[in-house]
């Protein structure tokens, strides 16, 4: 009985958050436009000057996916922060419903937004000449990587949104997350960077995630490491972020709304 209630509560909250994201027309169009504009910008404006050992579009698709996910995480953080400053969370909490379903609504909506953005990046990429060599199985593996990454980032965003207390503060998180991918192998290979940056680029979480997708789709990574090897590092990073963020978010949710 209480399980069916939890399912109902979660379903209602998910519907609410998805409705909210669809009706925020400004953010919705930005989220749709961004992948397309970034793709064209990187491939046709910067791409010509960048030598990544092949067509730049073949290199950059995974990078754009994480960049859009970073932007999406910002949207999620703002949505959570806005919600927490609204009296409606008090009402939810004074009702006999699971607090976790409120966060779950945000997470699922965030995941849905990420999947739409990723699909757009892939679609536009294919349209302008991206030619992955992946098998069906490798496509599934890449999709799983993206979903795991988006899930981890969504929980991180929810935790930041709970911590931020205001939409403006939460928004600055977008800037950070949209900047970090640049110092990874998302857009240029790490060996072209100065030593200090290279060290950071090679070891930060975005790099194995990007390289896993790249390896699965194109058959080789930009660092020369085996796909199987970077994939485990990427999964470990994502699981660590997921675990830490979901615990932090649950704790913050209980304590932020308790006073």
């Amino acid at each position: 009985m209480s399980l069916t209630y939890t399912v109902t509560d979660s379903r209602v909250m998910i519907k609410r958050c998805i409705r909210r994201s669809l009706r925020d027309s400004e953010a919705f169009f930005t989220a749709l436009l961004l992948p397309i504009v970034l793709m064209l910008l990187f491939v046709y404006v910067f791409g010509g000057a960048l030598n990544t050992g092949g067509a730049y579009v073949d290199y950059v698709v995974p990078g754009l996916i994480v960049l859009c996910a970073g932007f999406g995480a910002g949207t999620t953080a703002v949505a959570v922060a806005t919600d927490m400053s609204n009296g409606i969370v008090d009402r939810f909490r004074s009702m006999p419903i699971k607090g976790s379903s409120i966060l779950l609504g945000h997470i699922v909506a965030s995941l849905a937004r990420n999947i739409v953005a990723t699909t757009l990046v892939i679609g536009v990429g294919l349209a302008i000449g991206w030619r992955p060599t992946a098998s069906v199985l490798e496509w599934f593996a890449a999709a799983a990587m993206i979903v795991l990454f988006a899930l981890a980032l969504s929980w991180l965003a929810a935790a930041v949104g709970l911590l931020a207390r205001s939409a403006e503060a939460a928004n600055s998180f977008t800037i950070v997350l949209m900047f970090i991918p640049y110092i990874s192998t998302a857009f240029v290979p790490a060996h072209t960077m100065p030593a200090v940056l290279r060290g950071f680029a090679e070891h930060q979480p975005f790099t194995p995630i990007v390289e896993t997708m790249r390896g699965l789709w194109m058959g080789h990574t930009s660092t020369g490491a085996a796909v199987g090897h970077v994939a485990w590092i990427a999964v470990a990073h994502c699981l660590a972020i997921l675990a830490a963020s979901s615990v932090a978010a649950a704790w913050l949710f209980r304590h932020r709304t308790a006073t």
């Binding site: 109902t8 009706r23 009296g87 409606i88 008090d90 009402r91 004074s94 009702m95």
Partner: protein, 318 residues
């Protein structure tokens, strides 16, 4: 006599600030109790504690037969809270808000539709049902908020400053809505800083100031506690005003207008005696008027000169 709320010895401190200091409260079933006090008096904190949103540092409370500490879920099932800011989703429509809340209360699918339609009609929101709540007026938002509170008609409804920021017409409308809820048999605990609101709605008033109960009683008792008539005296200059202040027991004094209010029995002899005394003290009054004590007079005499706008910074800090 049965009580829906019995709270005793509720204490709460935020940091080093004592917000509630051993507050006792009892709300008779089917009645309206108003928690009245200036900003920062602790009204909202008291409501949030009784609604399980804030844990008290000390004290016990039984809400609709459920112990606040040991059975918060039981309490949650028996109450509905309407806060200072309408707790509605502004991006959704009025109808979607009601449906969502009805689903969260686990009403069967068909009951969700039926109850939503009923409440939209009852709270005069039928025409606005398909509009986003963000486009509603303040009064409409509060009505929707109350409609949501009434989905399951809980035994107890908390209204935290339900008419703050509303224009007079919307306020009157909301009052009649609250009266209808009470006629339906719901017990109401409301907070307000408007004395008129307490006078209009409450069967029982508890006045809070600085986290402590300073008075309690029904509106008539509270007014009678000040005597039968309030005499207001106006003075020509600061000298006579100060002189009068030192020889009278004022319930309220206004330095700018140079007026002093004194509670009396209302007898001519008493007023004459007072005027004579002022004349002898060299502080003659230039104008005299009398009126029946209002809750404002009680409030001002109990909470000190600053009145309702005092302590604003406290509330902000919280």
């Amino acid at each position: 006599m049965t009580y829906t709320v019995v709270a005793s010895g509720i204490c709460k401190t935020f940091g080093d600030q004592v917000v509630l200091d051993h507050v006792d409260l009892a709300v008779e079933t089917g009645s309206v109790l108003a928690l009245l006090g200036p900003n920062g008096a602790g009204k909202t904190t008291m409501v949030r504690i009784l609604a399980t949103l804030v844990r008290p540092d000390a004290g016990t409370a039984m809400i609709a037969g459920h112990d606040l500490r040991s059975d918060p879920i039981g309490v949650k099932r028996s109450i509905s809270l309407t806060g200072q800011h309408a707790a509605v989703d502004e991006v959704l429509t009025g109808q979607e808000n009601l449906e969502m809340m009805a689903q969260l209360l686990h009403l069967p699918r068909r009951a969700v539709q039926a109850r939503t339609a009923e409440l939209l009609a009852e709270f005069d929101l039928v025409d606005a049902r398909s509009r986003r709540v963000g486009t509603y007026s303040g009064g409409m938002k509060r009505r929707l908020d109350l409609a949501i509170s009434m989905i399951e008609k809980p035994p107890l409804v908390f209204l935290d400053e339900p008419t703050t920021g509303l224009d007079p017409r919307s306020r009157e409308q909301l009052w009649s809505t609250v009266r209808r809820i009470v006629d339906d048999g719901v017990t109401v605990l409301l907070t307000t800083q408007y004395l008129e609101e307490a006078d209009q709605l409450a069967d029982m008033i508890v006045m809070l100031d600085g986290g402590q109960v300073v008075a309690r009683g029904n509106p008539d008792e509270l007014k009678a506690s000040l005597g039968a008539e309030v005499v207001r005296l106006q003075f020509a200059d600061d000298f006579s005003f100060e002189g009068a202040l030192s020889c009278l027991e004022a319930t309220h004094a206004d330095h700018r207008l140079r007026t002093i209010e004194v509670a009396t029995e209302g007898s001519a002899a008493e007023v004459l005696e007072m005027l004579t005394r002022l004349g002898e003290a060299g502080a003659p009054a230039v104008k005299v008027s009398t009126h029946r004590p209002s809750l404002d007079d009680v409030f001002l005499s109990l909470t000190g000169a600053g009145g309702p706008i005092r302590n604003e910074s406290k509330e902000m800090a919280r």
